[in-house]
Symmetry: C2
Subunit: 430 residues, 2 copies
Amino acid sequence: MNEELMARDLAHIWHPCTQMKDHEAIPIIPIKRAQGVWLYDFDGNRYIDSISSWWVNLFGHSNPYINEKVHEQLQTLEHVIFAGFTHEQIVRLSERLVALTPEGLERCFYADNGSSAVEVALKMSFHYFKNRGEIRPYFVSLTNSYHGETLGALAVGDVELYKQTYEEILIRTLQTPVPKDRSLEAAMEAAKEFESLLERHAKEVSALIVEPLVQCAGYMHMYHPAFLRELKRICEEHDVHLIADEIAVGFGRTGTLFACEQAGVSPDFMCLSKGLTGGYLPLSVVLTTDEIYGAFYCDYNDFKAFLHSHSYTGNALACAAANATLDIFEQEDIIQKNRIKSQYIAKKLERFKDIDKVSNIRQYGMIAALDIKGYDPKQRIGLRINQECLKREVFIRPLGNVIYFMPPYVISFDEIDMMMDTVYDVLKEL
Amino acid sequence: MNEELMARDLAHIWHPCTQMKDHEAIPIIPIKRAQGVWLYDFDGNRYIDSISSWWVNLFGHSNPYINEKVHEQLQTLEHVIFAGFTHEQIVRLSERLVALTPEGLERCFYADNGSSAVEVALKMSFHYFKNRGEIRPYFVSLTNSYHGETLGALAVGDVELYKQTYEEILIRTLQTPVPKDRSLEAAMEAAKEFESLLERHAKEVSALIVEPLVQCAGYMHMYHPAFLRELKRICEEHDVHLIADEIAVGFGRTGTLFACEQAGVSPDFMCLSKGLTGGYLPLSVVLTTDEIYGAFYCDYNDFKAFLHSHSYTGNALACAAANATLDIFEQEDIIQKNRIKSQYIAKKLERFKDIDKVSNIRQYGMIAALDIKGYDPKQRIGLRINQECLKREVFIRPLGNVIYFMPPYVISFDEIDMMMDTVYDVLKEL
């Protein structure tokens, strides 16, 4: 049955972020159902979803509570246009997001995916300055950054693999170095570079966009929270916006509900998606300040409004999933529970030091990563490890030579053992 | 109860495509539940959703059949990463889309909203030529076009209201005139302009993007199908891609399942969203040809793959809604039923000719529009009409001075009467 669906899939589907020819040798696995951390295929195999289905799932697949809440919503209102109208789920969600995110973030603008949220933040920042009479056409991002795939989001990225092909159709942006390692010194050194960049260009720059603490698609590169604090200070001194892209790192991934908290930083914009709906449905939101909101607030005929829209903005079913997700955070003291799980993961990570080919072991909360050395990228060692782990019921998806764990928070200690021991065994056998 | 939710909404929510200051005078209406074409607020008022909640809803709100199918899916698989994995709903959906769309469209690449689908098509087209060794940095679009809000999608648009603010952060594109009216002559004249543009620029142009038959956000401007036929011929002759943006016009809106059918045209890319899930959930897809797919199909280390992705790509719940929507098309012979409703709408449109201030009455299938003349845009006559109609249980959302009807297909003849008679009365009283 796997085989039949696989053949039908390959006849018509073009998968995201995939060289489709790979699937001449590697099966596409059709998933019949999923429960908790487990994915079940049509041949009766199962796999631990160690990367939360691209970092979105928090409380397990087919979570009974989220299911119930989405089903409830389905019975009253699936969707209504979000211009001129509103609904209870989104009002409640917005109040909660404002209460949970760093101080000063008071306004919620919704979209459907992370890329679109980044585009909203970029456009709002640029438009804010224009409403003030300034043209600031540049955005600054960190080297090795990734913020999505639409052309604006891609332009502020720096991962060559995704960006280079499109250089001729991307707007020009500026890059400033990310700290080379997790030390305080590296943080201060990189901050100095940014400061010097703004000293030269502040008047042309609308915003700096950063992924706080962990550059997830940037091969899980991690840096010291002091870097964020410095960036915030420098942005403030130069009247440049700070956009925190917490799409991947938000909702508890780095150990705090939002990664910015670890630096005590309130950005001017915060982009959220992925975990926002617990892995159920596409939804994203940009939170911003009253000051920024105020720069667009005027008589209609002054034409300063932010006219961005997507048809499904504020989708009621997605908001129901998001509220259910926040309920679970509240009711089950997830951040505290994750702390214990993270410590357990940290202890298990130690063991990987035994393996010669492993280096750069690192962790922030529920993200743990390590590098495999001694292989040329063309050997695609990550893929080999992925295939070997799948045979042993563990799904991981290495980024090049970087192996990482980013499991749903409902993973049990036994399942952590299974996930990490399996990868350990596979690496040991390399 | 309306009032309380409205106040809570305005405290934290920034609505799409809205000057928020308008809501000092105009209420935001909180919707408690919706059924069929009707939206019900918390004070017991109801409104006909004459624009299908931004052109997305086809078979009514809280459609029992779609509800059932989404609920069924919720019980087995809400979402799984769509790289390396697949699921039954999306395999079935892709087969059906390939069968239903014009000949030659064989491959489905999914995303979450219309803007992202447009970005996928633009990137794929550019990347296709790059994989062939050609750099073609320009896209051509029609004057008065609209293709979405992310920076790439916005760059190929031409509606000043949405685009002009951002000109310094948009990539440069080329525009070619849309036919000035619906006549064959206007179509041929505009086609000639495009031909002359490509004679000069074909080697720098990847694709032409058009909204077939109706420029929806472009004030419901309509043109003759011959224009599309000509564009296709010219694109072929110059080896330039044709991208059909059927996000708004697809799924029966113009009278045929896809608008391209009326011109007998197979584009190189077709973008779909909105009606795809019947108005339930954000989902979009780009269909393309085997030839284009083939240009990316190679050994991984040749680095020609299309690495675009969104985390929620291929969301199983959204695909379940999409399959349920296609079921209804099949089981209830919707296109034929709509033909009868469109004729009824056409007859009722005739009556608007009585009104002096009405001009340019036009229709394609389930889209009917007219202009109100004699008002300066600053008077915002559309908004006044919107407010007056809401008092009479009809929700319309004029585009400037353009009034249009784009109701869910389940609208009854009585409801059509109520919707159109109400607007007629309001216009008559102007």
